[in-house]
């Protein structure tokens, strides 16, 4: 058997041995950093090619090369479909495959080339076997560092079968947490770009589904924003989870999980999540609601209305101010819903992609030397130091560059965004962008705009101002505004918007610059935007250029986003008294729910067990070329959204109808827990060079909106989800099979 679960005990190392090993590891780290830099460079080349191509797939004419946008001839150079991405490209944008009379478009060729030269092939191969992408060096290093005394026994690696009580290292994990946030933020930035770019390469053959994915992810600035706006608590958690989780969820008989030495109450851990989600929700509701009313968008729910509705109504529950509006929106026909739901996938994407940063190549190859160490310390302490997680949720991160989400400013951002579909966009903006090494500052000199659209049609008036965010940070710290220039469509600003940021950080950022009409009484309207990336910019050069203002892309996302396919699961509850004879080593056991109220017992899990067999899914969205996806399922038993309850199936390659037949087992459940926990399942498409794509999800639970007396947004199971859970409770020991419709967003469905 594979010794994945071997525990690592390095306490035997003598002082000087430790030092020697650490020295070696340091040397290795250096090498890896160098490698990462090289890889980043290569990736920038890819992005460069991608950028040349269309920004938005939908806009792409049939007779245009998808890569260079050259129009294709009718007879000569008619273009042909790339076998891989199924986009029509001209002769010049092809790379022939040797020894085969085939070719690929320049991007597909570049991607596969990158896969080789970056060593991604290796990581991919390895990830089939070991989920964790953390370099062993870091694991070892952390292990050594975290075992200060000879007697201190640590299990790292995969944390599986050590029966030792875990020792946790709270301060360390906290410190690392902070570091990780920074990492997370950086990674996110990159992810976003890749995501954007990646979608472009997707082929539209799958008609609606894909198209919608594209729209959401690719062009839709809103989703882009939401990617960026993923509130920090989430993202923190995300990266933490990601890294921790790369342990090995599939280890049989994970004894570790039976040591409920967690010091916190469940509510502690719970706070993390709702907190994150809350701000998300706020964003959404504030986003579209008011504007929708105002502008009266016509949108049709063409998918399955029930789902979309409940989803839509969801968003409201958390918003503080705009609540009322969305509350009204529990009726299916309200326009607001669809509009709001439009932004959902994006949001979710962000919410989750963070979590899945582990799958990102960047994460895999990361030079975030600290990040991996997080995994260890946190894994060790994942149960015992929820405090550290909570901290990230609530504290504003010291590093101002990391996204410290301020709900207010996000609201302000989104409150304005509702009606850009309505706004006409025209004109351009003159910018001078420079970076000063001396002061470590990015200077965005907004010079002037030319020929702006009219902001207020009725009054024939345009009072414009320019606002910028350094995405992915959408917090107040990242926001800059010019003054308002009254009543002109050719405003001259000559105002410098300054960001103090290191150039390495900047590489991962995107400057989003939008022009708005300021309306003192009504809502501001959107006049256009420009997004600039810095990853391939020579920082010592100045950019001065006219940029054409772009509209927000609003495509008919809503027509297809509803149906995400269905998931078949078998759910079984085994009550405590029946659970005693369970052959523990035959199931993949994870301490599902750690009850800290119980005094710690280091024996086998007490209490009941929920067994979930993830059978398979049908009609998943195809996001990869060839009309397939590489789906896998991830599960958490909320409120414990940390590693300890995370389960994953294997990745089923190239299928939209995968069969996993993978069992997630959660034990240690007391009878009272069943009404307070929720099994969150999400389906993902595994991406090699980018972050994973969210394909749908569901939540199995009581759907009461409450967990242990607290209001939580995730306790939102409804319909069949809720009924299945109920059946499971009512008839224990009986397997309940059920096929459930996947939600297309994991936003809360509370009513």
């Amino acid at each position: 058997m594979e010794q994945v679960g071997e525990d690592l005990n390095l306490s035997y190392l003598l002082e000087h041995e430790r030092d020697m090993i650490l020295k070696v590891l340091q040397k290795d780290e250096k090498l890896r950093k160098r490698e990462e830099k090289r890889i980043r460079k290569l990736k920038n080349e890819l992005l460069e090619i991608k950028r040349k191509g269309s920004r938005r797939q939908q806009e792409l004419g049939e007779r245009e090369c998808a890569r260079c946008l050259k129009s294709l001839g009718l007879i000569f150079d008619r273009g042909d479909l790339c076998e891989e991405c199924q986009l029509r490209v001209c002769n010049d944008c092809r790379v022939s495959i040797p020894k085969a009379r085939q070719w690929r478009c320049s991007i597909c060729a570049k991607i596969s080339e990158l896969k080789v030269v970056t060593g991604e092939w290796f990581l991919e191969e390895r990830s089939k076997r070991f989920e964790q992408g953390v370099p062993s060096g870091d694991v070892i290093k952390q292990t050594i560092l975290s075992s200060p005394t000879i007697t201190d026994i640590k299990s790292t690696e995969n944390l599986s079968a050590t029966s030792e009580p875990e020792k946790s290292d709270t301060p360390k994990s906290k410190r690392n947490a902070v570091l990780n946030i920074v990492n997370g933020a950086r990674r996110k930035g990159r992810m976003k770009m890749e995501k954007k770019a990646n979608r472009k390469a997707m082929k539209p053959e799958n008609g609606v589904d894909i198209a919608s994915v594209n729209t959401v992810l690719d062009g839709d600035a809103q989703s882009v924003r939401s990617v960026c706006s993923a509130p920090s608590p989430r993202s923190n958690r995300g990266s933490v989870v990601a890294l921790e989780s790369s342990g090995v969820p599939t280890i049989p008989n994970n004894l570790r999980s039976h040591t409920p030495d967690r010091s916190s109450t469940p509510s502690d851990s719970r706070r993390v999540r709702p907190d994150g989600a809350e701000s998300v929700a706020c964003v959404n509701s504030s986003d579209s609601v008011p504007e929708t009313k105002a502008t009266g968008h016509e949108r049709k729910d063409s998918g399955t209305p029930t789902i979309s509705v409940s989803r839509a109504s969801v968003s409201s529950d958390h918003s503080r101010s705009e609540m009322d509006l969305s509350a009204a929106g529990s009726e299916p026909s309200e326009d607001a819903f669809s509009l709001r739901s439009r932004s959902v996938p994006g949001l979710n994407e962000s919410e989750f992609s963070d979590e899945d940063a582990e799958e990102d190549i960047d994460a895999l190859m990361s030079a975030h030397s600290k990040a991996p160490s997080r995994r260890i310390s946190n894994a060790l302490s994942s149960c015992s130091t929820p405090g550290s997680e909570r901290r990230w949720g609530h504290l504003n991160v010291p590093d101002s560059d990391a996204e410290t989400s301020s709900i207010n400013s996000m609201m302000s951002m989104y409150s304005e965004t509702g009606d850009y579909g309505n706004a006409r966009v025209s004109g351009e903006i003159l910018l001078n962008i420079s970076y000063s090494y001396k002061t470590g500052a990015l200077n965005v000199l907004v010079k002037e705009c030319h020929n702006l659209a009219t902001g207020d049609e009725r009054r024939q008036r345009t009072d414009s101002y320019v606002k910028t965010y350094l995405l992915p940070d959408t917090s107040r710290q990242s926001k800059r505004k010019t003054s308002i220039k009254a009543n002109t469509i050719n405003p001259v600003f000559n105002e410098n918007l300054r960001y103090v940021i290191s150039h390495s950080q900047l590489e991962t950022r995107t400057l989003q610059l939008s022009v708005w009409h300021h309306d003192r009484f009504g809502h501001n309207s959107f006049l256009g935007e420009v997004e600039l990336t810095f990853d391939s910019w020579e920082f010592d050069s100045q950019m001065e250029d006219w940029y054409t203002l772009q509209p927000k892309v609003e495509n008919n996302i809503d027509c297809t986003m509803q149906y995400k396919g269905e998931l078949t699961v078998v759910l079984k509850y085994i009550p405590a008294e029946k659970n005693l004879t369970l052959p523990l080593d035959q199931v993949q056991v994870k301490k599902g729910f750690l009850k800290s109220k119980k005094p710690s017992s280091f024996t086998l899990p007490k209490g009941g067990m929920v067994e979930l067999l993830v059978k398979g899914a049908k009609n998943l969205t195809a996001v990869k070329s060839g009309g397939t996806s590489d789906p896998f399922v991830k599960g958490y038993l909320l409120p414990d959204s940390k590693k300890s309850t995370k389960h994953k199936t294997v990745v089923e390659r190239r299928s939209v109808n995968p069969q996993w037949n993978h069992t997630f087992t959660y034990c240690g459940l007391q009878p009272g827990d069943l009404n307070n926990v929720c099994l969150e399942l999400t389906v993902w498409d595994k991406e090699a060079l980018a972050s994973n794509v969210f394909l749908g999800g569901l939540r199995l639970g009581a759907g009461t909106g409450k967990s242990y007396g607290n209001d939580v947004d995730w306790m939102d199971s409804y319909g069949e989800e809720q009924r299945l859970w109920q059946r499971m409770i009512e008839k224990p020991e009986v397997p309940h099979e059920c096929t459930l419709m996947l939600r297309y967003s994991m936003r809360s469905c509370n009513t």
């Binding site: 390095l10 041995e17 070696v24 290795d28 090498l31 040797p98 020894k99 085969a100």
Partner: protein, 218 residues
Amino acid sequence: MADWDYDYLIKLLALGDSGVGKTTFLYRYTDQKFNRKFTTTVGIDFREKRVMYTGKSADGASEKNFNVHIQLWDTAGQERFRSLTTAFFRDAMGFLLMFDLTSQQSFLNVRNWMSQLQANAYCDSPDIVLVGTKADLRDVRDVHGRQARDLANRYGIPYFETSAMTGDDVDQAVTTLLDLVMKRMEQSIPGGPSSEPNGSPINSHEVEEASVRRTCAC
């Protein structure tokens, strides 16, 4: 360091019993020197070397020289470091499995190392080269060449008898391994730069006791 300009970073790892001469072998390979002194490797170490590799260029049409930066991990053979060293197995793309031609025991242990590899490497049939060391010590030789070759054949891996003292076949062993890794790499992507039309599957080590193994060839 300014020399980032390599095209590939390839990570290889040497393993085998304590005292078979892994460190000396690697030292010979990277520095072309022989170190007579025996020092136990503490846990883990690595050496680096830059080599040229001739492969297909990106478009596959022409031959091209690539700069390959090799990171050669050296592991402690001692049992007490075992958990530490095996942890590094998964980060390596290819392996130099070494035994001492003057020690039958170290040869017998190849089997164990092999199963260690199968369990802990990045996939269950990684690229491995079997290396017999100290070939110059003919008088005290304890392992027959045929014996070793048979074993290597059973595993489907190349075998070299090397001497760090004379330098015999040291380079060849590493180069062979590098080739294997590069080939696997090139084949890892469908239609990659040099997917062989005659498609010889990459060596999968058919070992009788391994029954349920997927092949790693992509």
